[in-house]
């Protein structure tokens, strides 16, 4: 577990992630910030790989680096030209406060979690063949209700989006 390769990878990936996050804050151009955000996402995916959570890593790339980034691209493109830079916001103080609060919570969780208990061979006893199979079993077994609720929520979000952007017109869509 604690082989030097993993440690090296952890530090490199952490550096990439943190640097990406910092650059997101520093960059004045929204699209530059987006690129650095994708960099941070990829660093996170790498960190997941070092934790042997390959499905989460791939999902991170697929959803965050792939889809969320494109979503942001569309959001930026649909925003008028003049506000495409990372300008000073009215919400500097509230955002700062919220960020600090978030950091405090994460710090508290990190400090108060008894990490030591999970460090041993606890996972190795019922070592699943793949994490995918384990996640699939859990999602469709123990956590099926939250899973279904989430999918219904997403479905209605999709419907809502369609209803919102639908143009009111009588003539049919030329296809």
């Amino acid at each position: 577990m604690e082989s030097p390769g993993i440690i090296l990878a952890f530090w490199v990936l952490s550096a990439i992630t943190v640097a990406g996050c910092l650059l997101v804050m520093v960059a004045r151009n929204l699209l530059h910030a987006l690129v650095f955000l994708v960099l941070a996402f990829l660093g996170m995916a790498g960190l997941f790989v070092t934790l042997s959570a390959d499905f989460i890593a791939v999902a991170q790339i697929l959803i965050y680096a792939g889809s969320i980034a494109v979503l942001m691209v569309f959001a930026i493109m649909l925003t008028p030209l003049a506000v495409r830079d990372n300008a000073n916001s009215l919400y500097v103080l509230p955002a700062l406060a919220a960020g600090l609060g978030m950091a405090a919570i994460i710090g508290f969780v990190a400090v108060s979690t008894p990490w030591a208990e999970l460090q041993g061979d606890a996972l190795k006893h019922n070592d699943p063949v793949t994490t995918v199979a384990a996640i699939g079993d859990l999602l469709l077994g123990r956590y099926v209700l939250p899973f279904e609720v989430a999918s219904i929520l997403l479905f209605f979000a999709l419907l809502g989006a369609i209803v919102l952007v639908r143009e009111r017109r009588n003539d049919g869509d030329p296809s």
Partner: protein
């Protein structure tokens, strides 16, 4: 006056007149060369016979010199290193480097000949010659092209965002390389045979979108931005049918691991293109949209928006985009071959022929289809493509997925022999493809055959009134 009596007018005409076919050249070989060639042939046959004996006897299996599967050699190397008691990082790094070099040389090699293949094939489709000046059969043309591109001045448009302008050619190259990692070239020969291979493939392919968009946006060019928006919209839309399709494959084969998908096809002696024809077509069509090839190359439709998102790129930066286009085509070929064409297997022939050669042949076949499409088909319009994805491919893919889920249950849990269940699945899916596509096309009112018409032939002369008379006659 005969033609031969005149000296050829141009060097080109002289070369055409002087051209001799291979057979003609062979007839004029001296006797010694013929003897040497015959000996060489006999020796080849003998060597092949010896190899055949070794294969049948089974003495070759799993040896490090068993080149039917380069994984054998690599694993022997790893064992050897472990026996030496070296640090575990060293075999890890060594195999990683070896595999990476393998993939790089494969893609690089393809980039060297791929454009030649495409141009020559297209030329044949278009009844012309294609590049035939540089080297034998024009084989050195891609190298000449690359040299030209490298020498070109690095231009940057006025008003372009410099960082984002330089980034995309590199950014788009990374997924084209990373995508090769899970492809199984033989039973033990894949770079990373990860258990989430399918999801990985989809995830990696979704990374290219951003590079395309950044290229179009940073160029400060209206064609480029239009092309980028088209491409992004299309890639985002077509990722859904691709994912749905691959989900069908995953459900049927019961694994996200590419080698397991190939193993399933090997086990049942059937290619998935036969079991899931609709999924295979959807994958192929959606892939052409993903990698911007005809008939879905609207992102770089040259008759509308010149070159799309890479209009403003020149020199080697444009060369990288073109290289990625080639590389993506064979990557899709590899995926298509692995998912639907039996991967490195060929109905038992993989014991005789190295699996990677079989896979390469299949990749070549898919690439040929891409070139064929490019040489044949016109281009769709953006709204037609979008409509096709959302109204046609996605609903059918969902139906296919549901049907496949039932079939997978039957195949796994009914206890019936595999031949029966898989044949049943083939039949059901064929019927679904045939009737489902027709019924759905009718339901959304798609009748292309109603559009064709021939002009009215007349000897009349006139204006509006004559036109009305002509149209009145059925």
């Amino acid at each position: 006056m005969s033609r031969a009596a005149l000296p050829p007018a141009t060097p080109m005409a002289r070369q055409i007149l002087d051209h001799r076919s291979l057979l003609q050249r062979a007839r004029t070989l001296p006797g010694e060369a013929r003897v040497a060639l015959a000996l060489l042939g006999i020796m080849t046959v003998a060597a092949l016979a010896a190899v055949g004996y070794l294969v049948i006897a089974g003495t070759l299996d799993g040896r490090w010199y068993d080149i039917r599967d380069l994984g054998n050699g690599t694993s022997h190397l790893v064992y050897w290193m472990e026996r030496q008691g070296w640090h575990p990082a060293i075999p890890y790094l060594t195999t990683g480097l070896l595999g990476g070099l393998g993939i790089l040389s494969l893609v690089g090699g393809w980039l060297v000949i791929g454009s030649w293949v495409e141009r020559r094939l297209l030329a044949k489709f278009q009844i012309r010659q294609g590049p035939n000046r540089n080297g034998p059969f024009g084989l050195l043309q891609p190298i000449a092209d690359a040299l030209k591109l490298i020498q070109k001045e690095a231009l940057i448009p006025i008003g372009a965002d410099r960082l984002l302008y330089y980034l995309p050619p590199v950014l788009i190259f990374i997924p084209a390389m990373l995508g090769w990692a899970p492809v199984p070239w033989a039973a033990r020969m894949s770079y990373v045979d990860m258990n989430v291979g399918v999801v990985y493939a989809i995830a990696i392919s979704s990374l290219g979108v951003l590079a395309v968009f950044l290229a179009g946006w940073s160029s400060n060019n209206h064609y480029a931005l239009l092309g980028a928006m088209r491409t992004v919209a299309m890639m985002v839309s077509y990722e859904i049918p691709i994912s749905m399709t691959l989900l069908s494959v995953v459900v049927l084969t019961g694994s996200l691991q590419l080698s397991q998908i190939v193993a399933w096809q090997q086990q049942y002696h059937v290619w998935l293109i036969i079991v899931l024809p609709l999924a295979a077509f959807t994958f192929l069509f959606a892939s052409t949209a993903e990698i911007n090839r005809t008939p879905n190359d609207i992102g770089e439709a040259e008759s509308e928006i010149v070159a799309g998102f890479h209009t403003e790129y020149s020199g080697m930066k444009a060369g990288l985009f073109l290289a990625v286009e080639l590389g993506n085509a064979i990557l899709v070929g590899a995926m298509m071959a692995t998912f639907f064409l039996g991967g490195y297997t060929l109905f038992g022939l993989e014991t005789w022929i190295p699996g990677y050669l079989i896979l390469a042949t299949k990749i070549g076949a898919v690439y040929f289809v891409f070139v064929w499409l490019r040489g044949t088909l016109p281009r769709f319009r953006l709204d037609q493509l979008m409509g096709f994805a959302w109204k046609f491919l996605i609903p059918l893919a969902i139906v296919q997925l549901l049907v496949v889920a039932v079939e997978a249950l039957v195949i796994e849990q009914s206890g019936l022999p595999g031949v029966a269940t898989v044949s049943g699945a083939i039949l059901v899916n064929a019927l679904l493809t045939f009737f489902g596509v027709r019924a759905w096309a009718n339901a959304i009112g798609y009748r292309p055959e109603a559009g064709a018409s021939t002009p009215i032939l007349t000897t009349a002369v006139g204006g509006l009134r004559a036109a009305a008379r002509l149209q009145a006659v059925p």
